[in-house]
Symmetry: C2
Subunit: 259 residues, 2 copies
């Protein structure tokens, strides 16, 4: 197990994009595609590496595509879509994939997904798909998807590589999207430094760091929507090995000030 | 100018922590300290590098320290501190540094700072200071601090290195802190891909990416509170050169769903 608690200066960290030539198709084997792409780029997984994957290729491989033309639309979805000039099918799916609507205003629908993530339109996406006419849903259980990829990579390479699945979310108060971790296997989501001492001997109080969200953002810098790198390797980060789950990132509603 | 709009696969990105041996003291020259620390670690700035700096060393250099014993406390600060077992001086300063209180509940005070950032206790911090008894405020104008550092580094090195100043913020709905960009000079804060086409030819709609927040998070991975690296260099990221300001990251209240 690698330790998150090195107190000396950190070493250099590297982010290596994994570029794909072809597309991920429904039913494709992600480990095959990822390892193949790495071989083509002449690099291989090493012990200590972390794999970060955009959810789109996971969702596509898992056949989470919905033909918008086949959807039965609710009256609400039709009204909302008409009022704000958005796709009624996306709104319909956003509601179906949600367990609560957090806000609906200015044409923006903020929902809590069945997994507990709070984001626009339950993460339903139409932006990055061939042809169009289809929407892409988040994986049904992104932690499970991450565990599967983690397990399959271990079978093929012998290495227990932490796997993060990410999506771009908006934030309250702040313009611009950033990537969040929505599926996790193989490492702890949070680094809890409470009770530890900083270099001055001062005990750290409010220092729980959402490491996997920071890793998601870092990966977002090399996995742009405009290039063909839907995944990357993070090399040199000292993580805490663990089964891992994004559930520890979800703040219970009772402790939350914004819903 | 480097372009953010490479559509081919990205190249590798490197994050190199800048470890400090000594402490930053009020009145210190940050460019001297940073360039000195880099020399000691045997690396130098290169064209295209981005410098990310934790606000604490900027605030300390700018003498943004307040002796908590000298503060006149309001009745509210005293009541709040007593009720929740927090430092009344921090609450007092949090209110003084704010222009609005966004939420106060469960012992957490979420304010809008005079700069427009929404965070706990206006970013007032007591965690990382020698001795204790003092609080550290955010820089009075973090964009100006970033511009000053950008300018001074250019004078010393001849290189126009974008400078980001960061702080750790909590988020609604989500456990754990991540780093946000609170001061910026030398590059654009947002990457606006709206109207551009993805590899499938599909026009991207909601694709404004908060690049500098992703850079802040990436830097957060190598600039831990427990090590002596309060800054880092990001090498290999294709940014858009610009005067730069964090103001473009602030969502106007009228468009915001959560205040």
């Amino acid at each position: 197990m690698r330790s998150a608690h090195s107190s000396g200066p950190s070493a250099e960290l590297r982010l290596m994009p994994i570029a794909f030539c072809g597309e991920i198709k429904p039913g494709d084997s992600l480990p095959d595609k990822l390892l193949g792409a790495m071989r083509q780029q002449d690099f291989a997984l090493e012990p200590g590496d972390i794999l970060v994957v955009k959810h789109k290729i996971v969702s596509k491989a898992e056949r989470r595509l919905v033909d918008l033309a086949t959807l039965k639309l609710s009256a609400f979805a039709k009204r909302w879509a008409k009022k704000y000039g958005v796709d009624a099918g996306v709104i319909e799916l956003a509601l179906r994939e949600s367990r609560a609507v957090i806000r609906r205003k200015h044409g923006v629908l903020i929902t809590e997904t069945k997994h507990g993530f709070i984001c626009a339109n339950s993460g339903v996406d139409v932006s990055n798909l061939d042809g169009g006419g289809h929407a892409l849903l988040l994986p049904a259980d992104p932690d499970r998807s991450a565990r599967k990829l983690h397990r399959e990579l271990k079978q093929r390479t012998g290495l227990a590589i932490p796997v993060l699945i990410t999506d771009s979310f908006g934030r309250p108060w702040r313009e611009g999207l950033v990537d969040f971790c929505i599926g996790l296997a193989g490492m702890k989501a949070l680094r809890d430094d409470r009770g530890r001492r900083d270099p001055h001997g001062y005990v750290l109080h409010a220092s729980v760091e959402a490491i996997v969200d920071e890793l998601a953002c870092a990966a977002g810098l090399v996995c742009g929507k405009l290039n063909r790198a839907p995944a990357c390797i993070v090399r040199g980060f000292h993580y805490q090995a663990s089964r891992g789950s994004t559930r520890s990132l979800l703040r219970p509603a009772a402790n939350d000030l914004f819903r």
